[in-house]
């Protein structure tokens, strides 16, 4: 009996210690460095009327829509100042995240998730709720400076990276 109590206490405190040593803030998905869209731009995101709804990824399939090549150069389709830019695929621990971002001028009007981790069922579960949240965050922030969605640290990180690369390409 005493041994059971010792083993139980040791295990619980060990696990609590391990969990406690990890950082607890969700923080910015891009870590310490924060980015914003093109320097000096005075875009005011909230004023735009009725931003088009972001495209949610097709459930259960990472490659929604066309399977874009991983490092395809941005293919700006310039018609009435609208640009569609494919961000770099950001590799994460559980698989790549890649975005296709539509800009109207400097303003992000649509985000399409081309790839996200779907290796395991848990990845699919997490990303099916995390990606819409991330899309929303990015649309309202109008930058890659977005918060990590809890439970989806790696996806959030990859999302922000791919978004940043798309923003960089659009600005260039």
């Amino acid at each position: 009996m005493r041994r059971a109590i010792v083993a139980g206490t040791a295990t619980v405190s060990g696990i609590v210690l391990l969990l406690g040593l990890k950082p607890h803030s969700s923080g910015s998905a891009l870590g310490t460095s924060s980015f914003s869209i093109g320097s000096g731009s005075n875009s005011s995101p909230s004023t735009s009327a009725a931003a088009p709804a972001t495209t949610a990824p097709a459930a259960g399939n990472g490659q929604s829509s066309s399977s874009a090549p991983k490092s395809s150069p941005s293919t700006p389709s310039t018609s009435t100042g609208t640009k569609v830019v494919t961000g770099d695929a950001a590799d994460t621990r559980y698989g790549p995240v890649q975005l296709q971002v539509t800009f109207s001028g400097k303003k992000i009007t649509n985000i399409n998730v081309l790839q996200y981790p779907t290796e395991s069922f848990r990845d699919q579960q997490i990303n099916s709720y995390a990606l819409p949240i991330l899309n929303q965050e990015a649309m309202s922030a109008q930058s890659a400076n977005i918060d990590v969605v809890s439970g989806a640290t790696y996806t959030s990180d990859g999302y922000a990276q791919s978004l940043q690369s798309a923003i960089d390409k659009a600005g260039a």
Partner: protein
Amino acid sequence: MPAVADRARAPRRAADRGRVAGSPGLRLPADTIPVAVLTLVGIGALAVLALWWKDTFNVVGAAGWLTGAGRITGLLAGYLTPLLLLLMARIPVLEHKVGSDRLARWHALAGRYMVCLVAAHILTIIWGYAYTARKSVVNEAVYVVFDYPEMIKGTLAALLMFGTAFVSARAARRRLSYEAWYYLHLTTYLAIALGFSHQIVNGADLDTGPARVLWSAYYVIAFVLLGWFRLFVPWRNDRRHQLRVAEVRPEGPGVVSVILTGEHLDELRAEAGQFFRLQFQAKGLRWTANPYSLSAAPHPRFLRFTIKDLGEHSAAVARLQPGTKVRAEGPYGAFTAGRVRARKVLLLAGGVGITPIRALFETLPAKRGDLTLLYRASWPEDVIFRHELESIAAARGARLRFLVGPRSEVGDPLTARTLSKLVPHLNRHDVFICGPESMATAAVQALRECGVKRSHIHHESFTF
């Protein structure tokens, strides 16, 4: 193949014996291998935790804490499972250096711990997932079981595991025959096989590359070793040695000796103090392999076991006919001359615990006057092998004392005072104890009071 391996091992064994007779100071402490095994197990556990550490970015909110705890407990339980198999795989080096009784105790402790880890894993994972998905725990539980891949199998595995744990719990086990308990225990193999796939498919730390390969290899190796040493080796020995009953001889009230004969028994390299698991191919005995100690030094043509009538099973053994085939697993056990570190040896036997002690008394290397046997029995008629022991004592110049009488009449002879009076220089002895658990516990305590080092007390219990 086996012949080559045997030849390769033979010189090392000879060297072992040489060292027993030689200076004892040069040998490694007896606990080297057990300590090494436990260290290895600990390092493995740390590696598993490191895997989690490497893959975990941060722990955010209740969901993060719960899911994190679920992943850690799951990984540890998954790590422990093949270890439980390996402890029971009858791997010769473990059987010989750690001892079957200690392995069985470790297995039982680790088994209970593993069941607790599995329970914690299930609770925290479901609870954590429910937090993340903002669903009720019950909804999430149903979802996890029925919609996550391989989770029906995983759930069945957990149910089988809990069933076995319940049945093996001490209270329930008393009401259950050894045989029924034994066969229910076999379902855990199924549980382990069923539980494997959900770890690989859903385990966030096992879904890629080397971790996945190592984890799978670890499980495969455990099952292969188990199959090799528990199925293939006994089958091969069976064919080679053709063991059968030569004679069943009564030794005392309810005690019989079974003498087996067979071919090439020297190749078994059994040692005094070891035991075999015997399966007599007779009605009512065929399906159980019970552990029995050698009660005489092994002979190239004969092996003698002595069995006390402790139930239906042993009673059936007394009625065995000569010629009955016997399937033997073994030899097992570390209760041998290999444990001796001191020049002087004291053997302490209680009741039918004399069985392995009798064989050690005959064979332990010791100079005249360095070997003592104290044999405790409640009644004179319970003393078996009296004449054999007396002639061994005379031939080897060993001291032999019978401590006979119920405790109510003669008091407890296994106290520090009595022992130190009976055996001069007690603290310079290696002590081998075999007897009922209560006697062994009392003896160990008395010996410790007399200044005998823990590492010099060798005790094998047969409560499996």
